[in-house]
Amino acid sequence: MDYLLHVMILALIYSVFAMSLNLELGYAGLYNFGHVAFFGIGAYVSALLSHAGVPVSAAMICALAAAGITGALLAVPALRVSGDYFGIATLVFAEMFRLVCLNERWLTKGPMGLPGIPRPAWIAPGVEGMPAYLLFAFLAAVGTFVFIRRLTGSPFGRALKVIREDEHMAQAFGKNILLFKVKAIVAGSVLAGWAGTLWAHYISYISPADFTLTETILVLLCVVLGGRGTNWGPVVGAIAVVFFGEAVRFLPIPPALTRYVAPLQGIIYGGILVVIMMKMPNGMIPEHRRKNT
């Protein structure tokens, strides 16, 4: 069942992506609406380097570093503004990144995209490699999960939550909120870059059209739907979003209505989002369901 493998790989990659956003959105309370830029940086750096003959594993590491550095460079100025303003600053940054990819054709081949991105040497290309890639993506997701759980279950995560709930209080207790936020963004960016490399080497073709606002919204959805500020939330959310997105393909729509398939799918998709937000505003795994209650 290659299709099932494919959907599972997608779900795993999206879990990594969603977990990385959750670190910023859920734990640090930073509304990063430009997260897809780091996903894109990971994908592009990794793809370009491996096209240039760098071994895939080395290219992946460079991609993570590039995403992290960009994250730090963005975070320091963007954190001057807070709340929705930070959101719009990051959103605009992501669009700027996409436009650079679109227009700097000497580097990225612009809208033509980069085809034929190789897989790591030990994974066979194409369909034969899918079980191995699934394993790879699974290990990557588990690694990310363990890393993030360690991070958020630690004094670091606790401090992030303090900052999210009350910045002034955190400052009064000696927390350097800027530094904490920068760290959260860098970690989130590295992990988003990680998801991006996983994506690029799996799908084997990337173009600027893959890194639009739509993608940000999709991953935002995974986080909010699953439950922000929890470890399992984004994972569950990503799996739900990917599987649901594929499941609408199987809706029983009579052939006579094929013309209406896509709008109907869209209506159902949108409707379910609305209903879920109304019935479970804190996601499927709400954060504040703590012990002793």
């Binding site: 069942m1 290659d2 299709y3 099932l4 494919h6 959907v7 997608l10 679109l102 227009n103 054709r105 612009g110 809208p111 033509m112 995209g113 085809p115 034929g116 194409g126 369909v127 034969e128 799908i203 084997s204 073709y205 990337i206 173009s207 059209a209 893959d210 739509t214 997105g245 594929e246 499941a247 393909r249 199987f250 809706l251 029983p252 052939p255 094929t258 013309r259 398939v261 896509a262 709008p263 799918q265 869209g266």
Partner: protein, 367 residues
């Protein structure tokens, strides 16, 4: 809760399950949502028209043919998901590919490796020729058209032009081939810039054209963008000769731009509109969709389905190798609405490049 879950599962099984042997199914990976949906709907209508005719003619060896449409959201990721589903869930041996070249390039390795026939009706990028032995297209490669536009520009004796193109895979690919050919032949490009896809305001771009004082503008773009540019240029009284590509050759362009489209000259992979095939197609279209104009590339989509039906009838079995041979065999000398569909060794078809122009609010051949 359990009950409703059960119902959902049943529903899924019902719609995934019924592979009734009575039908011959092929898949289609079509942009029904997202930014290409403007075109996708037309493709789908043309395919459905052809399908209707195939089944009226008795289907495939007595069983009706059916097309399973999968939406690809106009994105590469969507196209990959859709093709994986069509190949492994529906187990279809033959698929119609996604529209944009970038999306097509994303899925063609998957088809090649699964030994699934993949046919393109409108993806023009030159690179598609390299996709592999299971990939066919009934639409000619860009490489031919870029040269065509350059030659047209020179025959019209414009040796200084402004080049503008839509900033996507089609526009950029075509522009690069045009530029190479045009400058090699001694032409000069006064100003060159990409314009964004899907904008409503190109007045400043038009102003930039005006500033260059060029007599002719090569504008390789889509319908919507093309119409907007033409209209806004007209409003500012800009008088230049517009030279355009195939993607904007549509009655819709004239409908949207009105008088501003008058006198535009463009190239397109031509086919005669006098052939009986074309006339039959046109009549059938007008009968089925009385209030719809023939969409851009509609003829190719129609041909693709008809040719596929012919190949399916000829195929010894539904095995990949048999289908591949049948495709090549069916193409040989096949005269469709859009002309000769004989496949070369890359699965490409040749093309005659003609010119179109807009005269009295109608698209006509330019001679």
């Amino acid at each position: 809760m359990k009950k409703s879950l059960g119902i959902i599962i049943c529903v899924f099984l019902l719609c995934a399950g019924p592979l009734s042997a009575a039908e011959v199914k092929v898949g289609s990976n079509t942009p029904l949502s997202g930014k290409l949906s403007v075109y996708g709907e037309g493709f789908q209508q043309a395919m459905l028209l052809a399908l209707e005719e195939v089944n009226a003619e008795g289907g495939i060896k007595g069983s009706p043919m059916q097309i399973v449409f999968e939406d690809n959201n106009s994105t590469a990721a969507g196209a990959v998901s859709a093709i994986q589903k069509l190949i492994t869930v529906d187990k279809l041996p033959l698929l119609f590919g996604p529209a944009a070249s970038s999306n097509f390039l994303a899925v063609c390795p998957i088809a090649q490796q699964n030994k699934t026939i993949l046919i393109a009706a409108e993806s023009a990028a030159a690179e598609i020729s390299k996709c592999g032995s299971f990939v066919f297209r009934v639409f000619p490669s860009d490489a031919l058209q870029g040269i065509g536009v350059a030659e047209l520009t020179q025959t019209l004796k414009y040796d200084q032009v402004v080049l503008t193109y839509i900033n996507n895979d089609w526009g950029v690919g075509l522009a690069e081939i045009f530029k190479k050919k045009f400058t090699a032949a001694g032409g000069k490009i006064l100003d060159e810039f990409a314009h964004d896809e899907g904008k409503t305001d190109y007045r400043s771009e038009v102003l930039r054209i005006r500033k260059s004082n060029a007599k002719a503008v090569v504008n390789l773009t889509y319908i919507k963008e093309g119409a907007t540019v033409l209209k806004q240029a007209y409003e500012t009284g800009l008088k230049v000769q517009w030279l355009m590509g195939s993607a904007s050759k549509s009655p819709k362009l004239v409908e949207l731009a009105g008088e501003a489209a008058e006198g535009v000259i463009g190239t397109y992979p031509t086919f005669s509109q006098e052939t009986p095939q074309y006339k039959a197609f046109k009549a059938a279209w007008e009968k089925k969709y009385p209030d719809k104009k023939i969409p851009v590339f509609g003829e190719y989509n129609y041909d693709m389905v008809k040719l596929t039906a012919k190949a399916l009838r000829m195929a010894k079995s539904m095995a990949p190798e048999d289908l591949r041979k049948a495709m090549i065999e069916a193409g040989k000398g096949y005269m469709g609405v859009t002309g000769d569909k004989t496949f070369d060794e890359n699965g490409d078809v040749g093309a005659v490049y003609g010119c179109w122009t807009v005269k009295q609010q109608a698209i006509q051949d330019y001679k």
